[in-house]
């Protein structure tokens, strides 16, 4: 019954795609991040030293959580994250908090 993708998630995803994944995230209040995927989400980066980063209902940065926090992801289908190239990185975060 997940209908919405929260603004926070959408923002994080766009940051990840833009490659500026150095956010300092402090959540002090009630936080709800929900994602539902019916179908496929594919993220591919090709080239030397590239980074493919895929974040669904996740917080990436210096994460501090001081309130109630809920992160839910439902996937009916496939999520794919691929980096091709020397020294490349593929980072996939689903309902997770990852520190840089």
């Amino acid at each position: 019954m997940l209908k919405s993708v929260s603004c926070a998630v959408a923002l994080l995803m766009s940051f990840a795609i833009a490659g500026t994944a150095t956010a300092e995230i402090t959540i002090k209040g009630k936080n709800d991040q929900q994602t539902r995927v019916d179908g496929a989400v594919t993220n591919i980066a090709i080239g030397s030293e590239t980074v493919a980063e895929q974040n669904l209902s996740s917080n990436v940065g210096t994460v501090s959580i001081g309130g109630d926090n809920k992160q839910v992801t439902e996937i009916d289908g496939a999520v794919t994250n691929i980096a091709i190239g020397s020294k490349s990185k593929a980072m996939q975060n689903i309902s997770s908090n990852r520190s840089l």
């Binding site: 001081g66 839910v72 992801t73 994250n81 975060n93």
Partner: protein
């Protein structure tokens, strides 16, 4: 909605920031992932492939529930020099307080890496220390295959704690199917089910039910280690380790290697502890070229 910030929590966040700990979770946290289908994460010719599902980094304090329900396929790999691949399902780095890691996995999980690589799979596990009242439960049916190559290290942890366990903690692993763990050449292969890597203090329980095969390999100059409902260090308090193994554990290793299998056992000192083990089926343990092979069941 009321903002819910605990004063102690603020202090802990500050302390963690001073100490340089990367992440702080200090409240009611729920992380849930449900997958019906496939999740793939790969770095081809590259350095690192990291896949986290309902998992956290750093120190988690307070009440947290991390759950994952997978019905399908999870593929993670890194192929290339110096590569590193890891998959975390409902897992944490270090926890304090009242935390639950829960995972129900049905299907196939393949984790890779090659050359000077490291491959790790964590399912409902905590990599470091645990204190407070914590529970790790994993129900795995299907296959978990973990590999690595050349000077590599491969680790599979299911409902396990890598560090010390202090308080009232419970680890339960119910595994039906095959867990194959690899490594090659100057490598190390570790498989842990409902186990604690270091010392245990308090009222802790490790329970493992296994129906099927664990094959744990290694290679030249390698170490192969399987632990089922076991503790790596000393045990102090009212602890118990119980294991039912209906099926086979095959543990190998080769050349200058060491192979060990612990089932409901702890090699360190004991204060108030019970071990029970039922093995219906075979445990085969092999090593080569004069190096040690150890099997301990209910010790």
């Amino acid at each position: 909605m009321a903002v819910h910030v605990i004063d102690d929590c603020k202090r802990l966040v500050l302390i963690a920031a001073i100490l340089g700990l990367p992440a702080q979770v200090c409240a009611e946290v729920q992380q849930r992932t449900s997958i019906r289908g496939a999740a793939a994460n790969m770095a081809v010719m590259g350095g690192e492939a990291v896949s986290s599902m309902s998992s956290g980094a750093g120190l988690q304090q307070g009440n947290s529930t991390q759950s994952s329900y997978v019905n399908g396929v999870v593929i993670n790999g890194a192929i290339g020099p110096g590569s590193h691949s890891s998959v975390s399902l409902s897992s944490a780095h270090k926890v304090r307080g009242s935390n639950i890691q829960l995972s129900s996995f049905k299907g196939v999980l393949v984790n890779g890496s090659a050359l000077v690589a490291k491959a790790s799979v964590q399912i409902a596990s905590v990599a470091g220390d645990v204190s407070g009242s914590n529970t790790q439960i994993a129900n795995v049916s299907g296959a978990v295959v973990n590999a690595a190559a050349l000077a590599a290290k491969s680790t599979v942890q299911i409902a396990s704690v890598g560090g010390n366990s202090k308080g009232t903690n419970l680890q339960i692993a119910d595994v039906k199917g095959a867990v194959v763990n690899g490594a090659a050449l100057v490598a190390k292969a570790d498989t842990q089910l409902a186990s604690v890597g270091k010392n245990v203090r308090g009222a802790n329980k490790q329970v493992a039910v296994m129906r099927g095969a664990i094959v744990n390999l290694a290679g030249a100059a390698a170490l192969a280690d399987v632990r089922v409902a076991s503790v790596g260090g000393s045990v102090n308090g009212a602890n118990s380790q119980s294991a039912v193994v209906a099926g086979g554990i095959v543990n190998l290793a080769a050349l200058a290697a060491k192979a060990s299998v612990l089932v409901a056992s702890r090699p360190g000192s004991v204060g108030g502890n019970a071990q029970s083990a039922f093995v219906g089926g075979g445990v085969v343990n092999i090593a080569a070229y004069g190096r040690s092979s150890t099997v301990e069941i209910g010790n």
